[in-house]
Symmetry: C2
């Protein structure tokens, strides 16, 4: 999520257009820094949290710099046409700490995160690149454990690591291991899966309980102990999405619920689609131990990161079939409807509370969980 | 250069192969760390320098983990087939310091480095991803300067930044800005451009004087002053390569001369092709001020990094035409022959010295210039 995606998913680049036309933005694009320096003269942690400040950075600085059209969409990966095939392309860097946590580690995360971004565009992930930035002094054994984990995750997700790079920075100028993965997936259907395809009346289906990844990390960092450890939900979603596509489900949009959690992802979709998104608090599954941990730390599970959860928007008529298909897959056992797309409340995300009142939700504002992925 | 490329360039993956077959490596792949821990229990700077230790890491750890076949080739980018098109895919992270240097900055480098890796496979670069890892406290103005530079470099190289990501790490856990770019290029010809295509009798053509990028960086770091500043040669090579391809030059292999410099790149090619590579010291252009700076710092220009220089292997019969075409392009004005491929001295890089003797050259052994890119 939260990518710079200046290319509209539904107005793809064709190679028979002249590359020169694509390059026709005038240079220089601005004579002064577009992010008001009086507000934020320095980068702060929240610029990378997936919330409001990161969106400001993307919208004010990256989109004017790299966006070809003003109507770009923020989407998990960018879809482009090549002669004979339609592909999705995406990238993410991973700076999670600690490197190892219950249910995963930075290597597994780096594979699944990028695989999931491709899957959210309806692409079948094929190839990943793998870039390491290592800090001098890192234990070789630690690198090896991460490499094993990358290998295993790639195997599980059925993608191949086909190119890579290694850089080493001086001690104190990195933090053990940072990983970047970029991914290429192939789109084998004609559907347009994008925020612009949202329709009033669409139901929102979630594949399982939320907030586990974030709380798994936080529990380790805070030294919290529970009866059983909270494990990250980190998992590759492409197989599950592939089942939905191959069964012909009319998917309008998907989004994985990473940095900023369910609420931030849905708010992004409300904004970029111009539709109203309504969710019902009583329908959103949160495991009891996860809810307790959130309460202890004062966190709202709606804003806590997930790494194996996504929402899928389908017409109401497809609800039953979609849930049936998802529940047949190990990663969709907890599939359920959590809300709907509305014609009113355009651009807003609203939450129907258990007591019946309706609250407007915004994106994550501050920096709830730094370095969660 | 120096990529994990487990896919042979000349035995490409076809999508009609079952992905399951591609995934058939058994897991786990090894029960103990393959890099002898007694030698290197920790990552040291030289593991990222492009030299011997980095190759050991790639060959002992990454290739067994991710390589599908034992006959992989180390190449600048990996070529794979999609239905209807052949593409190249590559990635590099950039951790250069200082961020700004004569002739460029980390943003320009991050675009041109990846563009050049694609060009070296004979691909026309189309799309880049852009991943930032920012350190808390970075001046917003600095980020903005880098973004402008990325934009301008992408414009010059005729590639589009179509997806991106931003992460922020705590102060003291990064170094201002790290950038990762991954790139996709399209291959619009039938040629196989790869180390395996080297032929005895091929001439080695270089596009200009060497060692400027490395010395530009070192001069800044060491506070050296010259009559005129040494500027990095950082430049996008895809246009020049495109001229050679469109004129039908029978290119056997290309390699850009980044980390580890000319000598390391040629030694890599000698090893992976199994041919002998001979260069002639008197034919290798080094600018006088660059040579002086190298002498002062005790560096051998053959091992100093370049960011806009490459070698091109063509049959002897194509020498004249290749040089003519290159000299018509601003980045090929200094094109010249520097050596040849030999049937003897298999796997060796040899240097004919100005005094007539012949010396065997190896890869960069230590860590001559850390964080040069």
């Amino acid at each position: 999520m939260n990518k710079i995606n200046p290319v509209r998913v539904d107005s793809q680049i064709f190679l028979d257009e002249s590359i020169t036309n694509l390059m026709s933005n005038p240079i220089p694009f601005s004579s002064s820094c577009p992010v008001p320096l009086k507000d934020y003269p320095h980068i702060i942690s929240a610029h990378g949290s997936g919330g409001k400040l990161m969106h400001e950075l993307i919208e004010k600085m990256f989109v004017p710099a790299f966006g070809a059209t003003p109507e770009f969409e923020l989407h998990d990966s960018t879809v482009v046409n090549l002669p004979g095939s339609r592909i999705a392309f995406t990238t993410d860097s991973y700076v999670v700490r600690p490197l190892f946590f219950p249910g995963g580690d930075i290597g597994k995360l780096a594979v699944n995160g990028t695989v999931n971004d491709l899957a959210m565009s309806g692409a079948r992930p094929l190839f990943l690149s793998l870039g390491f930035i290592l800090e001098e002094g890192l234990l070789m054994e630690t690198l090896w454990r991460v490499v094993q984990s990358v290998r295993e995750a790639a195997h599980m997700a059925q993608v191949r690591i086909i190119t890579g790079d290694t850089k080493v920075v001086d001690k104190g100028k990195g933090d053990g291991i940072f990983i970047n993965t970029a991914g290429i997936g192939i789109i084998e259907h004609q559907r347009v899966i994008a925020p612009s395809a949202l329709q009033t009346g669409d139901v929102i289906i979630l594949n399982g309980d939320i907030a586990r990844h974030g709380m798994a990390i936080m529990a380790v960092r805070e030294g919290m102990e529970f009866e059983s450890a909270i494990e990250s939900d980190c998992a590759p979603l492409a197989g599950l999405v592939g089942c939905l596509l191959s069964e012909g489900i009319e998917i309008h949009c998907m989004r994985d619920l990473t940095r900023g959690g369910l609420a931030t992802s849905l708010k992004e979709l409300a904004v970029s689609s111009g539709k109203g998104v309504r969710i019902d608090e009583t329908l959103i599954p949160v495991r009891e131990d996860v809810a307790s941990a959130c309460e202890i730390l004062g966190l709202d599970p709606l804003y806590v990161a997930n790494e194996g959860r996504f929402v899928c928007f389908v017409p109401g008529s497809e609800e039953k079939k979609t849930i049936e298909i998802m529940r047949r897959h190990p990663l969709g056992l907890g599939a359920c409807v959590i809300g709907e797309v509305r014609g009113d409340t355009a651009g807003l995300l609203t939450l129907k509370k258990s007591i019946g009142s309706v609250r407007i939700l915004d994106m994550l504002a501050g920096d709830q969980l730094p370095r969660i992925c």
